[in-house]
Symmetry: C2
Subunit: 430 residues, 2 copies
Amino acid sequence: MKRVFVSQIKKMKEESILVKGWIYKIKSFGKIAFVLLRDKTGVIQLVLDDEGMIDSVKLEASVEVKGIISKNERAPGGVEIQVKELKIIGKTYYDLLPFSINQREIEASLETQLDHRYISLRRPDKRAVFKVQEEIVEAFRKYLRKHDFSEIHTPKIIASGTEGGSEVFTVNYFDRRAFLAQSPQFYKQMMVGAGFEAVFEIGHAYRAELHNTWRHLNEYVSLDVEMGFIEDENDLMDLEEEFMKFLFQYLSETCKKYLEILKVKLPTIEHIPRVTLSDAQKILLEKYNKKSPVGNIDAEGEILFSRYIKDKYDSDFVFLTKYPVSKRPMYTMPDDENKGITRSFDLIYKGLEITTGGQRIHDYDMLKENMIKFGVKPNDFGFYLESFKYGMPPHGGFAIGLERLTMKLLDLENIREASLLPRDMSRIMP
Amino acid sequence: MKRVFVSQIKKMKEESILVKGWIYKIKSFGKIAFVLLRDKTGVIQLVLDDEGMIDSVKLEASVEVKGIISKNERAPGGVEIQVKELKIIGKTYYDLLPFSINQREIEASLETQLDHRYISLRRPDKRAVFKVQEEIVEAFRKYLRKHDFSEIHTPKIIASGTEGGSEVFTVNYFDRRAFLAQSPQFYKQMMVGAGFEAVFEIGHAYRAELHNTWRHLNEYVSLDVEMGFIEDENDLMDLEEEFMKFLFQYLSETCKKYLEILKVKLPTIEHIPRVTLSDAQKILLEKYNKKSPVGNIDAEGEILFSRYIKDKYDSDFVFLTKYPVSKRPMYTMPDDENKGITRSFDLIYKGLEITTGGQRIHDYDMLKENMIKFGVKPNDFGFYLESFKYGMPPHGGFAIGLERLTMKLLDLENIREASLLPRDMSRIMP
């Protein structure tokens, strides 16, 4: 007999079936029990009328059940299964669950839930987050492949830090000191130059940042894009804007069920405003009397400015553009027209930066000079710099933090809720 | 004027166009030059009749070219462009290329080519390897998503080794000792148990193996699958076999152009034979007088046995099944019917192991006992073992080494040719 999934049962006749899953809830009245069975597609009521069988079921045991579909208006969903055979195929070995998962909410701290991820994820609403996340990734890939970008996989063990700074994890690589890549920055540029022209990568990025906040992870999934033969950074913002429109459309089609579970309504995106950083700083000062640090906007400023944009343009998104040279990496293209300014941007989504991007320097001499200006030794970037000797075209790109995008899209409070198994300063388990 | 890609030109009229790309070859006759321009889609001949323009072009510079399409039977592909304007947009800074890339073959060792990956990949045939690899990944994802597997992303920084042994890289994680995951084994099992039921992951795996051979990489891309509610390991082999059939069909449809460039003909897969390890050892001894190590077949044996299978069944693939307990990890399900034997398998493709898989132990007590039998401390696997207390269903999975599959499919001689930027014992650059 072939297994039937819970989501298929509603459309079936009153026939014999085999279902498999976990025991989600037990309401026992001695000689009869109503038991909820959960599989990856949903939850259904089982009716058990055998005392031995009733005694055998334990919460969260996994079971194989044969029975007959029966319509019952009082059952959740209007259907239940009259059980004929029940076999425990995955036993339980606990006295008490770490926390109850079949109530309205989990009554445990986020930390406790993360400690027992294999329990908390059994709730359909916790798992729904990752089903949406999966479709975000799928949309990203689909959109870029449709536009002839190549998907690449580049090494995470590298010989020198990519983004500079000390915030890098060290690896013992056959008794040599190596690092975990902070981003695929150098490699995605290199692959553009190597003839792929337009590439993307979905992979882990590592930041040894000494931040333990609601919006930081030390290992995260980065959605990276790099594109050659561009005119300037506007091509990149155009690309990201079009992707965002596509994404929201795609999710509204593919994630209906999960968005309902999570009670999330997706807006449609019309246009993402683009505001220069200095204009944004001025607006913050004039409207909110909010002072900003030199060449940047702090976390509070991002939230305020997002609110301003939402009121004025009804947009959850805003591009902040033209950051100063001092706030961007040494490979960022300077803006000809504005001294000290770069062709760069951030994308802010509901008050949180989810993307950093920009045009890169493609000329060997200019890049070398810029390294020296930034106080780094060109020799420390041997192969990277070397790759610019051979006709590197104008190019640029951006990266989206997958967990940040997921968090904001689903209105989660902590980025850890958007990571299956988060890594932060104090957590490397499970 | 919108950029036109080389692959589109053949279908166009004799009209004005803008193309971009790199200078691939220059044949100059003083007042006239025939120049090949290469973009990501192909190569086309430019006709230059301006001496200043001719002097300005250098091999591998990137350029923007405006001109008029002109049919010419003597031009490669029957079409060329009469150039009106040529702009160098990416300058060159070299005296000599590290090696020539516009001849029949690259006259440089693999090591030299890898040192200058940003040059060697500019050849269409080198890049074609990764376009096929991209489609392998796409087929894997497509096939599994169609069968309701969830794509997951699990941490690569972990607190304890997964596959046992000392072949693990250590990371300094905020002054704690952590490791790079040898596989997502524990996590993919955990996610099956956490309610996803069937999962896959496309991610890096790290092996600090002291092997520097044609078939080993220390960082590679692993195509991992794990599936709950199975009967036994045959369900897994069925799944992999069906995937392989799908893969070859999919590649024959999507990679025609690249397979032609690489001169590779894809066979169709009818059925993959399944032979127990002990039968395979017997056949090797009887047919080839080849002795095998206890409970295994060595690399030479794999090649000989593949040849035997090819002759007998016309199959490039063979599943070797039922490995002994001593040769499999502690989480492998023992075979009830054969003492000392496990429900495990390898998939051998043209003489090379590309997959290891099997059913896993899902019962907490049994797993704990097995750990003790294997001489490992259950406490060292705290959260992993703990996750088996809550009704873990019967399950199993497998992993395919992406670079190994690519290498065999494309008849490459060295696995490094199937990695954009390989990592081995001596290489962490570029």
